[in-house]
């Protein structure tokens, strides 16, 4: 049922009262106990079912709860550090999990007691994810998994992973996959940092050497992994596009400040480029806000792909402009020491870092090329790419 702002007003008032009652009876200084109780009270994600952290209310009402807790200074569940768990894993478990799996995993996921990562991409399977080669072979009540995953953010901190593995090599690539919930502390899981062009290691490569996963941790039917993964990937696109930030945030804010404070650096050509980027950045911000307004009113649209596509290109141009503007100073880099940052911050490090890190924007979370294919085929309805591998068993595909 579509939700509008007007119909949710009485619900919003009722929710506010619920949050205030909760705050009156729970001590926010006991962080974990407080978060667990918030989950049990159905005030974690209000659109989830009762008993699973929610109240079965419209998603639009979540902001009411979040605002009330934030205004009271209550501890949150560090949503920015838990993007994969909250944004991608939880909706997938909710949709495909057994009752037992939902009850086992959703609460510690939401409170942040258990961190999650995503074991999807492989060295031979990036944009063409379905061609992946990690094997899972049935052995009694377990599956035995062997393979290599790559680009796994937070694998070194994760307790659990969502894992896509091949369970049948004799059928075409999309049909032989199965989706698992993998304990990252299992014997045979080896995590190594993967160093990027910036010098640091946000990501990892993960080796799976005969890792045993109980069949009870399979999500969805055997061979149905691709369909389950679609839910994860769809939610990834929603999770990556946030709400609207204030004007002039991020890398553009940094370069605009430099422009104002350092008149000696200005040139006519860079002035024109700066203004073009200012306009484009602002327009992208407005689109983000339009998406947020639509989502809050139960009208999801495809515009998120436009924002991601535009942002990648914009961030690359803005960070390139900043380096050029700084001229000689841009030739220096702050630090090549290998480190493992908790997240990406486009404002805290040197311009050289911003320039290099921005190159990842058009690759991570779906390359710009794949995004254009998706827009062309699913939004504009243009004919799909020819599929030469459609009916070929995976084991016979050229790799």
């Amino acid at each position: 049922m579509p939700v509008t702002a007007t119909t949710s007003v009485p619900d919003a008032e009722r929710l506010r009262a619920l949050v205030r009652d909760f705050l009156a009876t729970h001590d926010p200084r006991e962080r974990l106990r407080f978060l667990r109780a918030r989950f049990d009270a159905g005030l974690a994600w209000v659109h989830y079912p009762e008993g699973l952290g929610g109240l079965g209310l419209p998603r639009a009402l979540q902001s009411v709860v979040d605002e009330e807790f934030a205004a009271a200074g209550a501890p949150d569940n560090a949503p920015r550090r838990n993007l994969i768990g909250l944004g991608m894993v939880a909706p997938t478990i909710l949709r495909f999990g057994t009752e037992e799996q939902k009850r086992r995993f959703l609460r510690p996921l939401w409170t942040g007691e258990e961190a999650w990562c995503q074991l999807f991409s492989e060295p031979g399977a990036g944009s063409d994810l379905a061609v992946l080669a990690t094997r899972a072979v049935r052995d009694g009540d377990d599956w035995v998994v062997t393979g290599q995953k790559v680009w796994t953010s937070r694998a070194h901190e994760a307790d659990w992973a969502i894992l896509l593995a091949r369970t049948d090599p004799d059928v075409p690539k999309h049909r032989g996959l199965t989706y698992f919930l993998c304990d990252m502390h299992s014997p045979g899981v080896v995590v190594r940092p993967l160093r990027q062009a910036t010098g640091e290691a946000e990501f990892n490569e993960v080796f799976l050497n005969r890792v045993r996963i109980p069949d009870a941790h399979r999500l969805g039917a055997v061979g149905d992994g691709w369909r389950v993964a679609q839910t994860t990937l769809m939610n990834e696109r929603i999770a990556i596009g946030g709400g609207a930030a204030p004007r002039e945030t991020g890398a553009l804010g940094v370069v605009a400040r430099t422009w104002r404070e350092r008149p000696e650096l200005r040139t006519p050509g860079l002035h024109d480029e700066l203004l073009r980027l200012w306009v484009a950045w602002e327009v992208n911000r407005l689109t983000n806000e339009r998406i947020r307004q639509q989502l809050a009113n139960g009208q999801p649209g495809p515009e998120g792909s436009a924002v991601k596509l535009a942002f990648a290109r914009l961030n690359q141009r803005v960070t390139g402009l900043e380096l050029t503007l700084l001229a000689g100073e841009g030739l220096a880099y702050d630090d090549w020491t290998m480190r493992r940052p908790a997240g990406v911050d486009f404002t805290q490090r040197s311009p050289g870092y911003r320039y290099l890190r921005a190159k990842g924007n058009s690759i991570e979370g779906g390359t710009s090329e794949i995004l254009r294919n998706i827009i062309a085929e699913r939004v504009l309805g243009l004919p799909p790419e020819p599929r030469t591998d459609k009916d070929v068993p995976w084991k016979d595909l050229p790799r």
Partner: protein, 376 residues
């Protein structure tokens, strides 16, 4: 919490769009637009009367006490999107937006009020006598001189003037700038149609030779009233540009699905798909910019000048790109007179120049957001 205005379309706006789109589908197919554009009557005044009087579109900005609909710039924006989609040959922008906004900005008691009723009802049509390329913030024009209630001078490139009953003329007299209303008709007023780049919305030159005029704004308010009209025009033109871009995208997507070359629809080739995906993303962002400008204008938001500069800098270029892609991806047929692509290209390019080019809007923005130019 966000402080940005609602960027979605309301139910009322959707209903208005549907009525305008129905009328245009019925009365304004592009084949008719093309047939008309080389005749001595480039405007479809019958369509204009239905749109202005019948649907009440001419009076959207006019308060109810003057006989208008008392709607806002948001509704006007929706009408302009539809008119842009159809490259409709009607004087909506010149009369219902530019001239009407100028008269509304004159303030009550200055004599502009009695013009508004007939304009809102669609009984009369007006034009704002400035060159169509004039950007907001331009200096008050010096091309027309006022002596008492007589105006003399020449203004070139006035949009929608050739079908105007009234001209709203900025002129300078002994006591400074003023806005004047001139009735078109007598021998002292000559309006000459130019051969225009945009066949569906031609410009004309206005020559005044001691023409009788009525002052509707004096030195204290004339410059501000003119500027308010130019801001409104520029902010809302972005929505027309959005409509042009949308139509070009849709037409092109439709065509590449049906045009077969090398044994398959050309829309299946990645080189074509990626260009259209980029264009779709650009149109998506243009909608955000145009909606924001209209919303700021509707509530006299202090951010309206930034919103207008952003919308014009962005939507102008998106519309031109969309029209150019439309011509190119239609291949040979896209370059012929018989296909409507050229009408959109001409409208898009004319809109880009109108009310300030993107570069001028970026220059205005530089001052507004404190990003000064390089000093030599």
């Amino acid at each position: 919490m966000s402080t940005l205005p609602d960027l979605r379309y309301s139910d009322v706006e959707d209903a208005l769009r549907a009525s305008v789109r129905d009328l245009l589908a019925d009365r304004c197919p592009w084949s008719a637009v093309l047939r008309r554009c080389e005749t001595s009557e480039p405007y479809d005044m019958d369509l204009w009367r239905r749109l202005a009087g019948g649907l009440g579109c001419a009076g959207l900005l006019v308060p109810e006490r003057y006989g208008g609909a008392g709607a806002s710039a948001r509704e006007v924006a929706v009408v302009l999107e539809e008119l842009g989609r159809a490259v409709a040959p009607v004087p909506f922008l010149g009369s219902a937006v530019l001239a009407t906004s100028a008269l509304l900005a004159c303030g009550a008691g200055d004599g502009a009020d009695d013009c508004l009723g007939p304009l809102a009802a669609g009984e009369r049509t007006a034009a704002l006598a400035v060159p169509f390329a004039t950007p907001p913030g331009a200096p008050f024009p010096a091309s027309v001189h006022a002596e008492g209630d007589r105006l003399t001078g020449r203004v070139v490139g006035v949009v929608d003037a050739v079908v105007a009953d009234l001209l709203v003329v900025p002129a300078t007299g002994a006591d400074g700038p003023g806005l004047y209303v001139v009735e078109v008709g007598g021998s002292a007023v000559a309006v000459t149609l130019r051969t225009s780049l945009d066949l569906t919305r031609p410009i004309a030159d206005v020559t005044l030779d001691g023409a009788a005029a009525r002052r509707v704004a004096g030195p204290e308010s004339a410059a501000a009233a003119l500027d308010a009209a130019l801001v409104a025009g520029a902010a809302l033109l972005a929505s027309e540009q959005l409509g042009v871009a949308e139509q070009c995208l849709e037409t092109t997507v439709g065509y590449v699905k049906t045009r077969y070359q090398f044994g398959r629809p050309i829309g299946g080739f990645q080189a074509v798909k990626h260009r259209l995906a980029d264009l779709w993303a650009a149109v998506t962002s243009a909608r955000s910019a145009a909606r924001y400008a209209a919303a700021c204008l509707a509530t006299a938001d202090p951010d309206v000048r930034v919103a207008t500069a952003v919308a014009q800098a962005h939507c102008s270029e998106v519309a031109v790109t969309a029209a150019e892609e439309c011509v190119q991806l239609h291949g040979g047929i896209g370059f012929t007179w018989e296909h409507p692509a050229h009408l959109y290209l001409k409208r898009a390019k004319a809109c880009e120049i109108a009310l300030g080019s993107p570069d001028r809007h970026r220059a205005a923005l530089a001052a507004l957001v404190d990003l000064p130019a390089a000093t030599p």
